[in-house]
Assembly symmetry: C2
Homo-oligomer: 271 residues x 2
């Protein structure tokens, strides 16, 4: 999916919602545990009820990897089940030397058919470029994350006075372009989103940290939206664990709808 | 395996060799391709011929992940086949926010039973600590890698004049200790290894980049060895692809032996 298609989808659905499929077997309602693949059954029902309101799905790969080969099968089935018109993100935070990154790209873009993957920048250019060689696929590079540890290195100022995340943005934006790269930008501080937006005006941001992690959707839109929206805002736990009984998916759908309605307002306010 | 056991093993075997199992299906000798699991059959023969000379095995997870669920099964079988007295490294370069890193730790330390995993530091303390909560397990944190892109961010100087890799070493060495953390330190520049050794005198280094990537074993030992050896030097391609016919494993064994003999000399020279 290219940037224009993604923007069209956002306009059609009046939503820039990404639903995070962080599916934890210990949180799956008990009536699904008797099925042969509870993780997939859970995701299937969540997708059925939220697809109308979402423009992207983001399975967090750790949740599937922790289950061994069976987890990868649940992931593949989930990916196959997501409607083709919806953008898919493998939240995998991969990144290694060139030939190894090439194999991670193969894992997520060929063996599986994700539209995009999150990548960690620490190893530099040759750890990122192999992912960019796949047509119509996207790298979503970690820039400024929303967790406690983001301050440890991402905010360290270099001798030129620039924090590391700015060095990452400036350098990496030359490796690709706004049509094959996005950035992970945490939502916990509105003014930081504004700083990032100034450095990379055209790129999409994948924004975690709204809801459970404490960010405000209004701030994200105010400081981060560009003329192509430029935002995918993720919610995981707040949606998929809205309920824990037979009506879990229906409740998830209601939470997704609630966010979509907020996003609809913000799109008409800022776009 | 703890640090004392690892050092004992190094003394017993007169080797600090780590064999990298970067098993690429396109490079497996054709007579193995008819077996039900060529990747495992390849690894099994390599392990049979190299175990005598190696103190560690390091499967590069990307190679298995690229094959889908079947790849994970080959990986599990390989791990089960490695003799229990040999240290195992999941070269996975994982790292994410706390609960997600916890799941990656579960994947590699519980679902599978690796002794250690390589981790990327970009997301800071809460992306690394969950791995350190597992007893007798190790984090091998990326510090200074040997690839081209290592200069992009790892060598940027902060306002205090320290390059990023030094900030990573100084901060992260307080999160764990030399008994549950090691560092990835590239071998391409001897004086850099000396710099790192000064900052973290006690920690083990996992050193890629000898052989195919161009580093010298003599330099690594000269600049990197400490009183507990403190080095695991990896060779992947140079060993496992020494041959590509029926005698591939025997040739791999000879290459491993050659490195072991060099290491034996270096151990008596520098230890």
């Amino acid at each position: 999916m290219n940037r224009i298609d993604l923007f069209k989808k956002i306009q059609d659905k009046k939503s820039f919602l990404c639903v995070g499929l962080d599916t934890d077997p210990s949180k799956i309602p008990s009536h699904l545990l008797k099925t042969t693949d509870p993780v997939f059954e859970f995701n299937k029902e969540i997708i059925d009820q939220t697809a109308e309101f979402a423009v992207a799905y983001k399975p967090n790969i750790a949740f599937y990897e922790a289950l061994g080969p069976k987890g990868w099968e649940s992931l593949q089935k989930t990916l196959d089940y997501i409607p083709k018109e919806i953008f898919t993100i493998a939240d995998a935070k991969r990144g290694d030397i060139g030939n190894t990154s090439g194999l991670y790209a193969k894992a997520f873009f060929e063996t599986m058919d994700f539209d995009s993957i999150t990548v960690a920048p620490y190893m530099g250019v040759d750890s990122v470029k192999p992912f960019l060689e796949f047509e119509n696929k996207w790298v979503i590079l970690l820039a400024l994350t929303s967790n406690e540890g983001s301050a440890d290195f991402q905010l360290i100022s270099s001798q030129s006075g620039k924090p590391l995340f700015q060095e990452v943005l400036e350098k990496s934006s030359k490796w690709g372009n706004p049509d094959n790269m996005m950035y992970v930008v945490g939502a916990t501080r509105g003014e930081k989103i504004a700083e990032v937006r100034k450095i990379v005006p055209e790129h999409f941001f994948l924004v975690p940290g709204v809801g459970a992690q404490g960010g405000s959707l209004e701030d994200v839109a105010h400081f981060g939206m560009n003329s192509h929206c430029g935002l995918l805002v993720n919610s995981s736990r707040g949606i998929i664990y809205a309920g824990n009984d037979k009506d879990f998916a229906k409740l998830a759908g209601l939470e997704a709808k609630k966010l979509q309605l907020e996003m609809e307002k913000l799109l008409s306010k800022y776009l």
